[in-house]
């Protein structure tokens, strides 16, 4: 953490969001943290690079069963996410999706400022890092020299469709993202090809039909095969090598490649916040799950301590203990009573059941 940054008023401060706690990530552990924080009257904003809550459970294994959530003999990744969302509903957390937290700094008054890749700023008394295995990041095909083309000719996402006008585009992949972008980019591209290894797609029938219609209408081309090489210089792509399923290679002119091969987790910006790291994990104490920086906590898969198990249930426990200390920072001087949700009328009021 770059501590003691200037707290002078900044441009665009009006758009800044002030809150008690910002949670980095919206995985299962972050979601349960909202519950535990809510019980002690703490309000949260959550930021995740994904377009939905649930972290690994929702992105990597929504339909697969989990067998070790106490009290739920079997629950799928998506169902657990949905249940958690239902459980935290009374606390009205605010979610900010499709944004990555890039910067975290301590202000002079002891609070924190966080800034995302879209420029949104947050000011909070407490930061909870529930970043799991890191930020979900598009997979980079292991093509020789691909890094040199990134940003100019190779893109993993589309922010502005206009940037793709009149380009000779190839989209690689056969999932929903690949197909959706063929649809969005066909009208502006000079030429558009979809390269996929088979004529089956792991996508909704609607988007498949739409793509096939565009091919029929001559708005784009479907190429059966895989991209195996890139040609060009100075970051500018000239052509791709495409291998068909008989092993024959052909060159296809192309100045813009969009590979969509799913997401993988990369630690990402968390590494730049000046926190102690141990093998890409954040060491914490096991009383409060606080990091080397006061009032910055780390819970769930991202933290480490003796005996740590990367399980959802461990993260839930960590969230509960973290909330006690967070309360001391957010509501200093207020005494915290230990209460059960079963019997405390004040907790039940917060949960909206009384």
């Amino acid at each position: 953490m770059a501590s003691e940054q200037s707290s002078a008023p900044q441009n665009g401060q009006s758009g800044e969001i002030e809150t008690h706690v910002v949670i980095v990530g919206a995985g299962p552990v972050a979601l349960f943290a909202v519950f535990e924080l809510g019980l002690v009257d703490i309000e949260c904003h959550l930021i995740d690079i994904l377009d939905k809550p649930g972290g690994q459970c929702a992105e990597l294994y929504p339909e697969k069963p989990i067998y070790d959530i106490p009290g739920l003999p079997v629950v799928s990744g998506q169902e657990l996410t949905d249940r958690l969302m239902e459980q935290i509903e009374p606390f009205g957390p605010t979610f900010h999706f499709n944004q990555r937290v890039d910067q975290l700094e301590r202000l002079k008054d002891g609070r924190f400022r966080l800034i995302t890749d879209t420029g949104q700023a947050f000011v909070a008394k407490v930061v909870v890092i529930a970043a799991g295995g890191g930020s979900f990041t598009p997979k980079r095909p292991p093509l020789q020299g691909i890094e040199a083309f990134e940003g100019q000719s190779v893109f993993y996402s589309v922010r502005r469709i206009e940037d793709f006008r009149d380009r000779n585009i190839v989209i690689a992949g056969g999932g929903d993202s690949a197909l959706d972008w063929t649809h969005a980019l066909a009208p502006v591209a000079a030429s558009l090809g979809l390269v996929h290894r088979r004529d089956k797609f792991r996508a909704s029938p609607d988007s498949v039909n739409r793509m096939l219609k565009s091919v029929e209408a001559g708005d784009m081309e479907f190429v059966l095969g895989q991209v195996t090489g890139l040609q060009g210089e100075g970051g500018k792509l000239r052509s791709l090598t495409i291998r068909d399923n008989n092993g024959e290679e052909t060159e296809r002119p192309c100045d813009c490649l969009l590979p969509f091969f799913g997401l993988t987790m990369k630690l990402g910006p968390v590494a730049d916040w000046g926190l102690n790291l141990h093998e890409n994990l954040i060491p914490v104490d096991t009383e409060k799950f606080e990091t080397s920086e006061k009032a910055i906590f780390a819970i769930g898969d991202i933290n480490t301590y003796p005996g740590k198990l990367k399980l959802i249930l461990s993260g839930f426990h960590e969230a509960a203990l973290m909330a006690q200390q967070a309360h001391a920072y957010v509501h200093p001087g207020e005494k915290l009573l230990f209460q059960y949700t079963t019997s405390s009328s004040s907790l039940q009021k917060k949960l909206g059941v009384k």
């Binding site: 990597l60 980079r140 056969g174 091969f261 799913g262």
Partner: protein
């Protein structure tokens, strides 16, 4: 115990004893065979346990099921002999199986 041979892209061979019932991925991870990453731990959710089954073994290992075939879309340099090794269960019939590890997992 069935023996499985993993051949790295550079030709290095690793012969390991695999227990019946574990997967070809698990046998590789347990024996630290380089090039098999298995990020998702065998849930058929990552495609980083990709291998090529040698032709003579393809009948015995069988063909990928739909879920695996879908996941192979997220692998690199997929061929007809491609399989996700976490989806191949070790049986006595697989004693002597030879698989090739791709140059790179994604």
């Amino acid at each position: 115990m069935p023996k499985i041979t993993y051949i790295e892209h550079n030709g290095t061979e690793h012969v390991v004893d695999a227990e019946v019932g574990m997967t070809v991925m698990e046998a590789a991870i347990k024996n630290k065979v380089p090039g098999i990453e298995a990020e998702c731990g065998g849930a058929c959710s990552c495609a980083t346990c990709h291998v090529y089954v040698t032709d003579s073994w393809r009948k015995t290992t069988g063909e990928p099921e739909e879920m695996e075939e879908d996941m192979l879309d997220f692998a690199f340099d997929v061929r007809e002999s491609s399989r996700l090794s976490c989806q191949i269960r070790v049986t006595d019939e697989l004693d002597g199986l030879v698989v090739h590890v791709p140059e790179k997992q994604f």
